[in-house]
């Protein structure tokens, strides 16, 4: 679970430290956290992330679906591992695609 007690509050909303391993289990938790568009924007603290899994990425991307965006979020303090894994999966640290897939 995302650790609630270690919550840090920042200006735009809340900051939640993401889990160290953003794997399939973490993806389900993330999906819950980001599920409701009615909630206030949230900051995800990615400073301790050791692995960004494809399923967690999927949740993050889906939350920014152009047609139906979910709860707004931003990623703060991404760890080196987060940045590297995001790049490996084809995205920048802010989840903007580095290249566009061949169509």
């Amino acid at each position: 679970m995302v650790q609630q007690r270690a919550k840090r509050v920042r200006n735009p909303g809340r900051t939640e430290p993401a889990k160290q391993r953003l794997d399939a289990a973490a993806a389900a938790v993330l999906a819950q956290t980001l599920g409701s568009s009615a909630e206030p924007p949230i900051e995800l603290d990615a400073s301790c992330v050791e692995l960004l899994g494809a399923q967690a990425l999927q949740v993050l991307l889906a939350a920014r679906h152009p047609a139906r965006p979910a709860r707004p979020f931003s990623i703060v303090d991404p760890s080196d591992a987060f940045v590297r894994d995001a790049a490996l999966l084809g995205f920048g640290h802010d989840l903007v695609p580095l290249t566009t897939a061949a169509r």
Partner: protein, 788 residues
């Protein structure tokens, strides 16, 4: 201040478990690896409680406790013994030494084991432990044991080999204790060694300043292959705990990557099932490696994803200027690979990044957008998963009912055929039509059977574990090769095949393969090869277990057979006949009894099990080159090849696999004993005769042997009997109808079938009839004993 606990245990796993448990409960934990270390720690620490193991190197728990108690400072400190032992004598010894309490390690054995296993795997993943052959072997064994432990935990059964698993934990701990093989760079974080090729400078991330342009390829690759990987994971891949990120990390070690993610299929978050897979990746890899190592990265997920790995350009001189031009041209011609620069506004309009694609000037620039195979259009991507999972799940009962109904269809067909021919209507046209109907019926039958069929792969996989275990126990090196594991067999057959196959594999390794030094002397490789193959041949499945060992020692087999009185001293036996002697009950050539063989459960048990399945077993052996055991099995247990016979006016079916011969006896060759028991004398031996009609209660009077036919059958344990029946009608394949659910078990009758004319014929249980024949008060063997 936190209370301090000193834990003394030589097992790293135990120490970790204790530390986590106690620290979680708010204690400060000080650790020592054995008694000596513990005393050392006590010179500086004054713990509130000491927890110690008993069995430790250098100084054991008893000695440690005594030494602590001798030291006046720790008079009032409780010392708890935490151990796997529960021996009363040891408890008393610990008490005398000064222990306060005794706790038997209450940890869940599976969890303890898993922890030790995971620690070793972690070391392996992080490169701190080299995957040497013995390490791999140990880990495979550990995986097997873990499977057992998990199964035991699930069923609540006791762990069969607790001592073995404790030993394995010790071995795994020993692995973990091995120092790292001098890491090439400064200690890096585990699992992510040297990630050089894709160096993105993202130090400015999070600040408002524009990030440096994320150049997809940071440095020119050493030599030039441009490999494109198109990869779309299926849900199943994630369900098996595979991770795309780790695969891409692996790829990034081989060269530089340009990755593009296809998010076209991604739904919005409220429609997203987090466990499912909606993304696909196109990865361009510039590498010196060939296609094979790239494919190997995906080896474990191959069946669970759509994957295409193609080479886009041939090798080139990296420093060739023309190559750069070609690269630039190629990049320009590939609109798909535009740089998206939202993250770097300052670089929004400049030309494409300086991507160095070493393309040979001789090679024509690939046409955009590259080979068709590498491109996933959204439309194709959408239909692909549907194709990949074109299967449905059906209740086994429904299939069984269908199989039953098809059986009825077969019967109706024979009824029709019989009626038509009895009515004299069997013209050429009718016969041809009925023939076609028969073919169709048979095809439908085969098709239905195929629904129930399952591949042999899971069974073969189980065998690889047996091979490891037996190889370990015998100290031999074995390489298992399997072939045809996709061969499909009815599931009822697969279930019953496991035991005999296990036995044959044990036998092949224990008796067939030689020890490594013997193999070396014989000029063979030290590791013996055991082949397990399966194939379909003319409506049956053929399974072959062969080894490249010493082959059957025929003189030894003959000697053993002679010493046990199984053959006459002057018997002239062919090689094949000698080989077949090993199937005789109680036959064993091993001089010593081991856990693997020589327990009196010989190959006769295998032969019996195979025969019960309606199968046959054949040996071929060549001295010095190995032996092979070939099983021929029916594809299903729903059908049976049988001999239709008449006994007491009834039609009966005798399974063909039990029959070894038939003859029409002369009255003179059948001897009467006592009240109706008979013996047949044929080529020097006597065989008890069983009058089937009388045995089953169809007739009161004995059938006269010269008016009947004798079927020579071989029953359980190799006993031979001659079944006396009135006549032989036909040989045909019949559909088995179980009687058990309606009538319970009827002794002497295995099942029933329906004949073409609608009558029911009982299928004879040869084993039961044979044993009843001998155990009967009027049974011939007993009579013989009295007579002799």
């Amino acid at each position: 201040m936190n209370r301090t606990i000193l834990t003394v245990d030589d097992s790293r796993t135990m120490r970790d478990m204790l530390r986590v448990t106690l620290a979680g409960a708010g204690y400060r934990v000080v650790q020592a690896v054995d008694g000596v270390d513990g005393l050392d720690v006590l010179t500086t620490e004054l713990p509130d409680v000491v927890v110690t193991d008993i069995n430790m190197p250098r100084l054991d728990g008893f000695g440690f406790i005594e030494a602590v108690r001798r030291d006046g400072r720790f008079g009032g400190v409780p010392i708890l013994v935490l151990t796997t032992e529960s021996d009363a004598e040891k408890k008393a010894r610990a008490r005398n030494a000064g222990a306060t309490g005794w706790i038997v390690k209450p940890f869940d054995p599976a969890r303890l084991f898993a922890h030790a296993f995971e620690t070793a795997l972690d070391l392996l993943r992080s490169g701190r432990l080299a995957p040497a052959a013995e390490v791999v072997k140990l880990l495979l064994r550990a995986a097997d044991m873990l499977t057992d432990l998990v199964r035991a935990a699930r069923t609540g059964a006791a762990v069969a080999d607790a001592a073995g698993s404790a030993r394995m934990i010790a071995s795994l701990d020993a692995l973990a204790a091995v120092p790292a093989p001098a890491p090439p760079v400064e200690p890096v974080e585990p699992a992510v060694p040297a990630f050089r090729p894709l160096r993105l400078d993202l130090s400015a991330i999070g600040d408002a300043e524009p990030a440096p342009e994320p150049a997809p390829i940071a440095e020119p690759p050493p030599a030039g292959r441009h490999i494109r990987i198109v990869f779309r994971p299926a849900d199943a891949m994630y369900a098996k705990a595979n991770e795309t990120t780790l695969l891409l990390r692996e790829l990034s070690r081989m060269g530089s990557l340009t990755v593009a993610c296809d998010t076209a299929a991604l739904p919005s978050l409220d429609a997203l099932e987090p466990a499912s897979s909606h993304l696909a990746w196109t990865v361009d890899l510039l590498t010196a490696a060939t296609l094979d190592p790239v494919r190997e990265v995906f080896e474990f997920v191959e069946g669970d994803c759509e994957l295409s790995v193609v080479e886009l350009s041939a090798s080139a001189q990296a420093d060739d200027a023309a190559g750069h031009e070609a690269a630039a041209a190629m990049e320009a011609a590939r609109p798909a690979y535009e740089q998206d620069d939202e993250s770097a506004p300052s670089a929004a309009s400049p030309p494409p990044p300086p991507v160095l694609l070493p393309v040979s000037p001789l090679a024509p620039p690939p046409a955009p957008p590259g080979p068709v195979a590498a491109t996933i259009t959204p439309a194709r991507a959408a239909e692909m998963p549907a194709l990949a999972h074109a299967s449905i799940r059906v209740d086994v009962e429904r299939v069984d009912r269908l199989v039953d109904l098809i059986g009825e269809l077969v019967i109706s067909h024979s009824t029709l055929l019989q009626n038509v021919s009895e009515a004299g209507l069997l013209t050429t046209g009718v016969a041809a039509a009925l023939d076609a109907l028969g073919h169709l019926t048979r095809d439908i039958q085969d098709g239905t059977m195929a629904i129930r069929a399952q591949p042999l792969k899971p069974l073969f996989q189980r065998m690889s574990r047996i091979v490891r275990e037996v190889a370990d126990a015998t100290g031999k090196q074995v390489v298992l090769q399997t072939e045809g594991e996709s061969t499909e067999v009815d599931r009822t057959v697969i279930e019953k095949l496991a035991d005999p196959l296990t036995h044959m594999i044990r036998n092949a390794i224990d008796h067939g393969l030689e020890a490594p030094d013997r193999r070396r002397e014989a000029g063979k490789t030290e590791a013996g090869v055991l082949r397990l193959s399966a194939a379909h041949r003319s409506g049956r499945v053929i399974i072959e277990v062969s080894d490249d060992g010493a082959g059957i020692d025929r003189s030894k087999v003959r000697g053993v057979a002679l010493s046990r009185g199984l053959i006459a001293p002057d018997a002239q036996l062919t090689d094949g006949e000698i080989d077949n002697l090993i199937f005789l009950p109680g036959f064993s050539t091993t001089d010593t009894v081991s856990s693997i063989s020589g327990r009196g459960v010989g190959l006769d048990a295998v032969k019996r099990a195979i025969q019960a399945l309606g199968g046959r077993i054949v040996i071929a052996s060549c001295p010095g080159q190995g032996s092979s055991f070939t099983l021929s099995l029916p594809l299903t247990l729903a059908l049976l090849d049988g001999m239709l016979v008449t006994a007491g006016g009834q039609t009966l079916v005798v399974p063909l696999t039990a029959i070894i011969g038939m003859l029409q006896p002369k009255q003179a060759n059948v001897y009467q004993f006592g009240s109706g028991a008979q013996l047949m004398h044929e080529s020097g031996s006597f065989t008890p005769v069983i009058d089937v009609a009388r045995e089953l209660g169809f007739a009161d009077r004995a059938t006269s042997p010269d008016q009947g036919v004798l079927l020579l059958v071989e029953a359980e344990g190799g006993t031979r009997r001659a079944l006396l029946v009135e006549a032989i009608q036909d040989q045909r394949r019949v559909v088995i109808k179980s009687l058990d659910s309606t009538y319970g078990v009827v002794s002497g009758i295995a099942a029933a079938t329906i004949l073409g004319d609608g009558r029911i014929a009982l299928i004879l249980d040869v084993d039961a009839i044979a044993s009843r024949g001998s155990g009967h008060p009027a049974g011939s063997e007993r009579q013989l004993a009295i007579a002799g």
